[in-house]
Symmetry: C2
Subunit: 157 residues, 2 copies
């Protein structure tokens, strides 16, 4: 493994600058996310789960995987959403061990309003031209090792 990657990427002031900028983005993103969630009396975790559920009924275990936490934690989070009428548990006809958490109609509405108040990167990106946003997208994709998607699976609407 003889490339000098470690050396350049670690000390390069330009790289450090970009890393710092990313840190700023992360901080701002989180701030705005928690703020938007709080506006709907939701915690961050609850908002994330509700966002998941709004895309379709999901087994508890799968929620845990998405949240990268232990399945036992999901029980409480869904409990709290359920007690507020935002989610409900259903049985999976295919496997009676599985419980599917699903957003209620109210839950879907809340998730929708939540998305609407997540202004991050919408306002800031408005300051960039279409060309610049394309460049930014491509650079971020390469940075993340993401394969440019042939067509982002239409989120349906």
């Amino acid at each position: 493994m003889g490339n000098l990657r470690g050396m350049t990427s670690r000390t390069d002031p330009l790289t450090l600058e970009v890393v710092e900028l990313i840190g700023t983005i992360v901080a701002r993103y989180h701030e705005e996310y928690e703020e938007a969630a709080a506006k709907h009396a939701l915690t961050g975790a609850q908002a994330r789960v509700l966002g998941l559920l709004s895309r379709g009924p999901t087994p508890m275990r799968r929620i845990a995987q998405q949240l990268k936490c232990e399945p036992s934690n999901v029980t409480g989070i869904v409990d709290r959403l359920e007690s507020r009428g935002l989610a409900e548990r259903r049985l999976d006809p295919a496997d009676r061990r599985v419980k599917l958490a699903a957003a209620t109609e109210t839950g879907r509405e809340t998730a929708e309003r939540l998305r609407g108040s997540l202004d991050f990167a919408r306002e800031p990106l408005a300051g960039l031209s279409a060309d610049e946003r394309t460049v930014l997208r491509d650079l971020l994709q390469r940075m993340l090792g993401v394969t440019p998607q042939p067509e982002s699976s239409a989120p349906g609407h």
Copy 2:
């Protein structure tokens, strides 16, 4: 070229793509941060505070401001760092109400190793050329409304 602000930024698929990429970055950043902290048996909050302290003794209240949390929370976090010998409390000679939290020598070493294991965006950025990283930096700066810093913004090459 006029960019039609409000309209494009909200529905523009390109913008949505970039927003999604940023979400991915945020998720990955957090994952790596928590992982790096856990490697040193620290929680995320403890790691953040230790990082702050490693830059110099800091009043408890200022730590709370940086963490964007209530001052009462800082007490416990610093308690835990202190009980592990990573931080200590000092009195501020100028104002006897103030307590300065400071990293111990061990604390500074831990903070340094922590920084070292924060690989995020170092590895990925290595895949971009210097020119590309410059473009990325400038776009992120404009997106964040950051004033390019005088020292490192030398565009020359």
